[in-house]
Subunit: 564 residues, 2 copies
């Protein structure tokens, strides 16, 4: 391909709405254009990269015996009514009516459709297990689409579904997908980790997330040299608790005017932050709940939800708190609190003479002791684990990094086959609901995540396997240099190299800038060194190699550099 | 792939809703399943074939320098309001609202989107010409979806758009697409023809259709050995007109009770059909119109619409005719008719003493002569040309065949760039609207058309290039036969042959039936002949070859047979 003919309009300026690097870089480097909030057109460079990602995903799926199908994007409402999700799915589901006023949805996912598909076609245990997958658009009407292709309303997913007659069979297939997903991560060239993502809400079935590291990721990952990794929302706290070996002092109510945050209280009272206990009020299915955590730790909302098994739980609003307790936020505390369930982090067990809100504007209690001043009947792990805290497996300090979820695999069990009444006949002639697994991979998200993980101030740094072109030949100067560039271009094309020639009538500076911005793994420049019989091959990551100006030698060097 | 693991549920019975062979065969052979009217899931066999079709289309597009992009399926209403098509497109357009009540459509086509895309990005004549294409789902809410994947509501299209600064440049690109489309037809292995499809309604720009022959096709194609081909809706009549060299006789009104059709009138009055003139009433923008054609010819509605330049023209309803003229349909005629525009086919010029309706129930006029009994002021070509009529180019008798439109290319001109105000700067610094071309190819339709053209009573006969598998090894018997089949399977896989092994525990009869039904180009059977050291290779089209039971020899023979 010739750059002069390539439709890749690069922009010099930062797009106004770019919150993170990939959003800015993919637009500036001419990969994507926004059509509406969360809806994008993929230009030729992005389409090429997406095809490469799709191909890697497809190959790894085929290798484990999953079979590719293609289900419709528009799905009839009746299927979702059968599973009970038509009304439950919420406003993220895009709905429409056809000309006959029949209801459809733009599929956010395909469990219903695939389960109905196999109904009456997979009838015997002899046909199991089977895995079906597709690569197709999905739709989620995010209330605030953001982060470019990372959180879009229209996006490309690979979704797979497996059907089994036993949990052992599901375990086997699940493991195959887990391995395939790791291979996909390796082949797309991203640093990643696999974390357990079991969630109490869906019955404790096994689930794993595949997370690509990136500073801008929405997931906080904690991991250890021993191989353990988890999201900070779920890693259990296995550290020691500080023991306050002191006598109980007398409870005091202290005037603390306008002193609200933990830091302000500590400063005002001249104590360490960990002397304070945070009292937080939530509202859920069963009304208000107070959670208590040591002042130097953050409350882990996911752990609290899981402990209460209440997905509807939300932080109480200041006005709700004022109405219920007559106290502004910042002065809440457990002393004297009635009719509210109190749940405390294990860390409180060993605290003595601590400080809590006075349940009265501008007052705090000091020298509080549980058991004496108020009662705690529920203890659990309620804190967010941080880098440096001990690994729950081996005890070594955890490391922390942010990441972007690209894959999620899940043991569904019989959730859909039961509600939709889809059964097979077992070896004894009994009808049983299928045991299912489901496996998602964000294809267009991989494009964004790669840029988040791999870029510098000058632009994108594509991994070779998903680069839109592996090599760019930058034509500098005219005469012999240009002639040799053209000859080299033809030669490399014939050898099957995925090469672009930058033959545009712009300055070398612009060409170099664009090559860095777009992020080709290798840039071959036939320039100044050409009079000495040399050509420069520069890796996007910086390394420069001079090589004899012979097509064969250059091809060989390119081969070596791309392999590394 | 092993058939025992393949998800290809074949059906023994005819699906209830199948109107044409492809609809029945694709369901029976386990390629597609219906999800809702005009909405299908493609099972693994169909997905494989579709990927092969997509790949052929993609390669031919890339070869002519078109660049692949991917535009969103959901398109904001504002773009369609700019072009004026939001309200004009009609009920075939599927519309929806997002959670913020913004209007979107599921794109039936992408002219608006692509034109907006290049706005402000293609700014100079130096960047032209450029061609962009995508392969993606399209949506048309057909009032009565039918014929399976041939007329679906959700379907896969390749759509391309080109931008130019001159008509000459458009001509050049148009020609490239025309040649690429012919190559696609050849590569997918279908008999086809290219017909001119210029339509007066869109300004007389050039347009061609690529039609695959099929008995069930909705297009009637007339073609000639000289290379000419056209749709019967548009082929001009170049035959001779019969001259009635006779004296004018006296007009008579004859009682013809319950005699309505041309055939009934001819029989009742004992005359040839061509002695009668058909009088047909239409209703259009300017009210009622009467069209006259010789009794032995069919009126060509498209020619009449083109002559009147009125796309809203429709056949008048019997109740409208009764109300307006007081005559039931079947007794209409031009004699005594007032205030209605009369348009006659050239064939009437030479007719004498003909028969028309009496404009009175149960009566016909005989010995009618125009000029004397009524006036004709407008003459044109109004008839449907039939096989046997002369070729408009060389005069030889035309042949006729039915076909399915797979490709349509079109010189759009400045229609969208003008209404949407999208301009480039020419070499003199003047802003001008882009000249555009658009080029559609029905990808999922190709799947259906191939089956319509290539099948027999036993099933589908896939062309090698788009067959889901090129070869099936049918395992018959156990022991050595099975062992050799497995060895052969592994060998062929290693050689890169696209092979399926039918290792199911079913009878040979079922395997043979399914192989024919699914339509693999070659079936290798290690069966009875194996004791004599032979293996049978049968082409789906019938030819049987015996070959030595050696992997190498079999591979060689397969190679030869697939090439043919």
């Amino acid at each position: 391909m010739r750059f002069s003919q390539l439709y890749a309009p690069t922009l010099r300026e930062e797009p106004a709405d770019a919150e993170i690097p990939s959003q800015s870089l993919l637009q500036r480097a001419g990969f994507i254009r926004k059509v509406a909030a969360g809806i994008y057109t993929y230009l030729p460079l992005a389409r090429k990269t997406l095809l490469k990602i799709e191909n890697i995903v497809r190959e790894e799926m085929n290798k484990i015996g999953a079979q590719e199908i293609l289900m419709p994007i528009i799905q009839p409402a009746e299927l979702w009514e059968k599973s009970g999700r038509w009304d439950d799915y919420g406003p993220e589901m895009m709905k429409l009516k056809d000309r006959h006023e029949r209801d459809f949805t733009l599929g956010p996912t395909h469990e219903e459709l695939v389960t109905e598909l196999i109904k009456n076609e997979l009838t015997s245990y002899k046909q199991l297990p089977i895995s079906l997958y597709q690569i197709a658009n999905k739709y989620r009407d995010e209330i605030r689409p953001r982060f470019g292709v990372l959180r879009a309303r229209e996006f490309i997913m690979k979704d797979a579904y497996s059907f089994h007659d036993s949990w052992e069979s599901l375990d086997e297939t699940y493991l195959k997908f887990k391995e395939a997903y790791s291979k996909i991560m390796e082949r797309v060239g991203l640093r990643y980790t696999v974390i357990e993502a079991s969630s109490g809400a869906i019955g404790g079935s096994e689930s794993h997330e595949f997370v690509a590291f990136a500073n801008t990721g929405e997931s906080n990952i904690l991991y250890c040299d021993c191989g353990y990794a988890g999201s900070d929302e779920r890693v259990p706290y296995k550290g020691e608790y500080r023991i306050y070996d002191e006598e109980e002092k007398s409870l005091e109510l202290v005037f603390t005017p306008n002193v609200k945050t933990v830091e302000q209280v500590a400063q005002f009272l001249n104590v360490e932050v960990r002397r304070i206990v945070k009292s937080l009020i939530f509202k859920g299915r069963e009304g208000f709940v107070m959670a208590l955590v040591p002042g130097d730790k953050e409350l882990n909302f996911e752990k609290l939800k899981a402990y209460l098994n209440d997905q509807s739980l939300q932080m109480a609003l200041p006005e709700e708190i004022l109405e219920k307790f007559g106290v502004p936020i910042g002065f809440l505390g457990p002393v004297g609190l009635e009719d509210v369930r109190i749940i405390a982090d294990h860390g409180l067990k060993y605290m003595r003479n601590f400080i809590v809100g006075g349940m009265k504007k501008d007052y705090h209690y000091v020298n509080v002791n549980h058991g004496r001043d108020f009662k705690i009947q529920e203890w659990t792990d309620l804190i967010i684990v941080e880098p440096g805290d001990p690994c729950p497996i081996c005890g070594k300090p955890l490391k922390g990094e942010k990441g972007i979820e690209l894959g999620h695999i899940f043991k569904l069990g019989t959730k859909y086959s039961e509600t939709m009444n889809v059964k097979y006949m077992d070896s004894e002639g009994k009808l049983k609901p299928f045991i299912m697994g489901c496996y998602g991979w964000g294809v267009s998200r991989t494009l964004g995540a790669a840029v988040e993980q791999l870029h510098d101030d000058n632009g994108i740094i594509w991994p070779v396997s998903i680069a839109p072109f592996e090599v760019v030949i930058t034509v500098v100067g005219r005469g012999n240099e240009r002639q040799f560039s053209e000859k080299l271009y033809k030669y490399l094309l014939e050898q099957g190299v995925d090469v672009l020639i930058d033959d545009r009538e712009v300055s070398p500076g612009v060409k170099f800038k664009d090559a860095d911005l777009i992020g080709f793994p290798l840039r071959v420049t036939v320039g100044r060194a050409f009079k000495n019989g040399k050509v420069e091959i520069k890796k996007r990551t910086g390394e420069i190699n001079l090589v004899d100006a012979s097509e064969g030698k250059i091809f060989e060097m390119i081969g070596n550099l791309l392999k590394k």
